[in-house]
């Protein structure tokens, strides 16, 4: 079956430091990977969409300078939260989709706590 693993599951970091999270697709080729953030008491905000052979598209209010993403192959993606502050707290979810299917498979999320 198709699975998506995210690592780490949770991180506590000091304000102003950075946190890198990884997303691994297993059982399918992740032709597109979407990164979301679920802030406390909020819905899922799309941060960026990365599609193989296309430029990474960031949503409004999110930038490459703040959330650099790497999608080097069809099974792996990573995103870093640079200079994390309180407003960056939340659950970061990786959603990966394979070619020809509409289903988005989510990882279990990487929870970021900023002190």
């Amino acid at each position: 079956g198709a699975l998506v693993y995210q690592y780490p599951r949770r991180t506590i970091c000091k304000s102003g430091t950075s946190m890198r999270m990884e997303c691994q697709a297993v059982g399918f080729q992740a032709t597109s990977v979407a990164w979301y953030r679920q802030s406390p008491q909020k819905t899922f905000e799309l941060i960026a969409l990365s599609t193989v052979n296309s430029a990474i598209k960031y949503e409004q209010n999110f930038t490459q300078e703040k959330f650099p993403i790497s999608h080097p192959n069809l099974s792996f993606s990573s995103m870093t939260v640079l200079n994390a502050y309180l407003e960056d707290r939340g659950l970061y979810l990786c959603g990966a989709r394979g070619q020809g299917t509409g289903q988005l498979y989510f990882g279990e999320g990487s929870k970021l706590t900023v002190l």
């Binding site: 597109s32 979407a34 979301y36 909020k42 819905t43 899922f44 799309l46 969409l49 599609t51 659950l91 979810l93 959603g95 989709r97 299917t101 509409g102 289903q103 988005l104 498979y105 989510f106 990882g107 279990e108 999320g109």
Partner: protein
Amino acid sequence: QQQVRQSPQSLTVWEGETAILNCSYEDSTFDYFPWYWQFPRESPALLIAIRPVSNKKEDGRFTIFFNKREKKLSLHITDSQPGDSATYFCATGTGGYKVVFGSGTRLLVSP
């Protein structure tokens, strides 16, 4: 501009009743409509999805009713069980790649 709207924000039903969760969207180019459910401290999981070629999709006790003309859809949960208590997110997607979520409906099924 909120692309996907859900109502109600929260809903409580008795065990055995039918829960109805509503969703509307803005962009008529959306062609994929998944519903996700999320239990506390867990990530969302796909529950059921529909494409505009159909106006109804059924999977056990869960049914999506889709009205393309009005850009509305609803999720009906028949014979609701306490284990159905979760937050339900309506989502829409374009071209099979970009998925946008609604704000969610928190469902509580009381025994």
